[in-house]
């Protein structure tokens, strides 16, 4: 039985002190989550909110009163009465040094935005902390895999910082366990089982590893084809055109061209996930053999391009003729299971309003 006193304490909000400010938190939250909610800008590199916290990069460290060394905020649970400093001089200095080290181990820090959703994380932090000193220039870590010729995923491990986000997203979110970590330290290398190409591994080319990589070491090869295409990158929120799951995506375009797809982390159906089709099979719409003009079959028995008016009149006259000759039950409509609602709605209305029949169906029977 719960006594009145217990009931009171369970109801009472848990409190801690964040940079001198008293804030409430919920049981089970990490320091990072509490700080994030209260708009503290704690830098992270190995963190992806969809994954189990890992505590590897140490950028997110904070000082906690009563604990001698700074702790990683992403892996440390908040507790009642904690007194936390997120941004002391010492911590900021430590962060800068860490970033200088990380930056020095990579070939490039500035990677194209088209590389992936999280690809700018390292660059943004390096700029924020002015960490391009070159103080540590020397040993590089990771070696790019140039032998894997797959057309989707760039494996440029010269830019790898060993955050293991790719390995973790593949295991924790995808359940595919296609990639793993070999060796430690400067020799750390992300590989597939038997060091095969991705095609010969468990990889399904869902692209999740690409989208979570904070450095562009893993890059979206298809999108990167358009690195030099003129124009700003625009993002348009829409839904994937393939299966019935209905994943939310951001379509990336430059001018009139769709250049890539990124998953929407807040998409209700997918929560950031995608599969190969949604991630990489977007360019069909800009294929050269798209139909561009209406066509009608002329006396020679062939289809010829014509203008809209002629085609629409021809289509309408053909239906009227059949209806007049064979009656209103002689015309049938088949709507698409891929086109949007407005297509299906007008199709059924056209049949019902024009012929007074229910001679309409869609392709779900195939």
């Amino acid at each position: 039985m719960i006594s009145d006193l217990d009931a009171q304490t369970t109801e009472k909000a848990l409190m801690l002190t964040l940079d001198g400010e008293k804030v409430s938190f919920e049981a089970g939250e990490t320091i990072y989550e509490v700080a994030e909610r209260h708009r503290r800008e704690i830098p992270t590199l190995c963190y992806d909110e969809r994954l189990e916290a890992f505590g590897a990069c140490r950028l997110c460290i904070v000082e906690v009163e009563g604990i001698r060394n700074p702790v990683a905020s992403c892996t440390t649970q908040a507790t009642e009465g904690m007194v936390i400093q997120t941004k002391t001089e010492a911590i900021e200095k430590h962060r800068k040094t860490l970033l200088e080290l990380v930056a020095s181990e990579n070939r490039d820090v500035d990677v194209n935005q088209l590389s992936g959703y999280a690809s700018q994380e390292l660059k943004i932090l390096v700029d924020r902390y002015d960490a391009r000193s070159g103080r540590f220039s020397g040993k590089k870590s990771g070696t790019s895999n140039t032998k894997d010729k797959n057309p989707f995923i760039l494996r440029d491990y010269d830019n790898c910082i060993s955050c293991y986000r790719c390995v973790r997203v593949c295991a924790e979110r995808e359940g595919d366990y296609a990639i793993n970590v070999m060796n430690r330290g400067f020799d750390t290398q992300i590989i597939t089982e038997f060091n095969n190409d991705l095609r010969d591994s468990e990889c399904t080319f869902c692209g999740q590893c690409v989208q979570t990589c904070p450095t562009g070491a893993l890059g979206d090869k298809k999108a990167l084809r358009d690195s030099d295409t003129e124009g700003e990158i625009e993002k348009t929120r829409t839904i994937c055109p393939y299966c019935g799951v209905g994943c939310s995506v951001d379509m990336l375009s430059k001018g009139d061209k769709i250049v890539g797809i990124q998953p929407a982390m807040d998409g209700p159906a997918n929560e950031g996930a995608l599969c190969i089709k949604g991630q990489f099979a977007f360019d069909f719409i800009q294929n050269a053999d798209r139909l561009k003009k209406p066509m009608i079959r002329r006396e020679d028995g062939e289809l010829h391009e014509c203008d809209w008016d002629e085609a629409l009149n021809f289509a309408a006259a053909g239906f009227a003729k059949v209806r007049d000759k064979f009656g209103r039950h002689s015309v049938y409509g088949i709507a698409s299971g891929r086109a949007p609602h407005e297509a299906a709605y007008t199709m059924q209305k056209y049949i019902r309003a024009t012929y007074g029949t229910n001679y309409i169906d869609n392709c779900s029977r195939a």
Partner: protein, 525 residues
């Protein structure tokens, strides 16, 4: 789906039947994988050793087309072991007694002969599903594309009803819709039996309502299905308007279908590519594609979501709704004066009760799952929570039937068809996306090593495969993915028109084609 996608991470016991989810709905499958990591138990009934089957705690490689027998026997076990939810049956359902009586006859031993899996495994499946709290069912076309598709679905409903697994978090019966907006096509009334919002065509109130709205007298009876319409081409049906569907490749019995469309006086096709179907048309209209079109689509969990145009249309392409409306206007039909997709969608919302609380602006953030009966309604992530649509959940007494055609000396192997991860339908889209061919460049036929040896087939060699309807050539892939006696391929490549072979029958109620089962003969080419 009765339940939201998010519920897929919550079942205690997962029963996946006739769904190759990791390939057809990979993103949904990731949720099941997470449920497994969290400790859920999974039963997979599928003839093939799919990736999902490999992850299962219990895999039942049932003979194609034997689902009803399996489900009856599972119900038998649940009944016998007293694993039923008596109060749910009493309070929320109808026909329970009769059904519980009916299943007494169908033992796992009986089903074992039909399904070709051990009775002990069927027993185990019944116990697992019956004890799960909650248990959830997932299925796709492997269940519906049969002559007994409706029996299959009803058998699944029976299981969920007898165990009270409906209207509960993490449970339910969850069909995964194959195409992005197939659910939406139904929502919009593009079916012969319902007006928009599933208002039945054979109910006088709805007929009257729509006759008035559409300013013409509409038949008070259901229309014929697409399958019947194709059968009647040239004999009653003389003109067709087909929007964005490559009927000739995706429908069963390709030769019949092509012949049917050729015998029309007038065929109008709207599409984004010159498909095999469009090539037969008298008029072809170029539609705007995904990425160029504003609109709405509904996903498999009934979530109504906005599609947005990001780039201008290619060439002179126009939205489907505009093309259809122009044809209507030129025939003097009133009510097609739309100026935007928004106008069309808002009209749909106005006259369908399940969308009554929605409009173009309210679906901006994808937050609603229908039914949304009014403006104050939050939407319905989970169906049947308090009551069923028609009051009580009805049990159906179903019996097992053999497929339309069964194997014989002439056609001794079962062919079953499906989809592949990298390809989508007739590949009008994936086939035109760069890089996909690196992973999947051509079609092949999966043959079990024992069958390959007996038939003299070699891996990578060509085979001739024939059914009662035709013959095709296809490359052989020797693998134990499919069980001995069953071969598998997909219908995505026009060069390998598998649907020349299939099409032996249709479900008598839905007229869904039996695409999943077809007896064939395979020999070296």
């Amino acid at each position: 789906m009765s339940n939201p996608l998010a519920d897929m991470e919550k079942p205690d016991v997962i029963f996946a039947i006739g769904t190759n989810m990791t390939e057809c709905h990979p993103v949904a499958a990731t949720r099941l994988k997470r449920a497994l990591t969290a400790g859920a138990t999974m039963i997979v009934a599928d003839p093939r050793q799919t990736r999902l089957a490999k992850m299962a705690h219990l895999h039942l490689p049932i003979r194609v087309g034997s689902d009803v027998a399996l489900l009856l026997a599972m119900a038998h076990v649940i009944q016998r072991e007293g694993l039923i939810d008596a109060s749910f049956i009493e309070e929320r359902t109808a026909g329970g007694n009769e059904f519980l009586q009916h299943v007494k006859e169908f033992t796992p031993e009986w089903a074992s002969d039909i399904c070709e899996v051990p009775a002990a495994d069927i027993e185990k499946a019944g116990l697992l599903y019956g004890k799960g709290n909650p248990s959830a069912i997932y299925y796709t076309l492997g269940i519906t594309e049969h002559i007994c598709g409706v029996d299959n679905v009803q058998s699944l409903c029976n299981l969920a009803l007898m165990t009270g697994n409906l209207g509960v978090e993490g449970g339910g019966i969850n069909p995964m819709r194959g195409q992005n907006n197939i659910q939406g096509a139904g929502d919009c009334g593009a079916v012969p039996n319902n007006f928009p919002g599933f208002q039945p065509c054979d109910h006088p109130e709805s007929t009257e309502k729509f006759s008035k709205l559409y300013q013409t007298e509409i038949d008070g009876t259901k229309g014929i299905t697409k399958v019947t319409a194709l059968d009647n081409c040239g004999k009653g049906i003389h003109a067709m308007l087909i929007d964005g569907e490559n009927t000739v490749v995706t429908d069963p019995d390709k030769n019949h279908c092509e012949h049917a469309l050729k015998s029309l006086d007038h065929l109008v096709v709207i599409d984004i590519f010159m498909t095999e179907t469009a090539q037969l048309a008298d008029v072809v209209f170029p539609a705007t594609a995904w990425g160029e079109t504003d609109g709405v689509q509904t996903n498999t969990e009934r979530r109504v979501q906005r599609l947005r145009a990001a780039v201008p249309p290619v060439g002179e392409a126009k939205p489907d709704w505009w093309i259809v409306s122009e044809i209507a206007k030129r025939m003097g039909v009133p009510g097609f004066e739309y100026e935007s997709a928004r106008d069309v969608f808002n009209e749909l919302c106005e006259l369908s009760p399940i969308y009554a609380g929605l409009d173009w602006d309210r679906i901006e953030d994808s937050e609603y799952q229908w039914p949304v009966p009014d403006r104050d309604h939050p939407g319905t992530p989970r169906l049947h929570e308090k009551e069923f649509k028609n009051g009580r959940g009805k049990f159906t007494v179903v019996g097992y039937r053999d497929p339309a055609e069964v194997i014989s000396d002439e056609f001794p192997l079962w062919l079953t068809t499906g989809r592949r991860l990298e390809a989508y339908h007739s590949r009008t889209q994936t086939g035109r996306s760069a890089g996909i061919e690196y992973l999947l460049s051509h079609e092949s036929l999966e043959v079990h090593p024992d069958d390959a040896e007996a038939l003299g087939l070699v891996h990578g060699g060509m085979a001739k495969m024939a059914s009662a309807r035709g013959e095709i050539e296809i490359e052989v892939k020797v693998t134990d993915m499919s069980p001995q006696g069953t071969v598998f391929t997909s219908f995505s490549f026009a060069e390998v028109p598998v649907n020349i072979l299939t099409g032996s029958g249709y479900d008598p109620v839905t007229q869904t084609a039996e695409l999943k089962v077809c007896p064939v003969r395979v020999e070296p080419a």
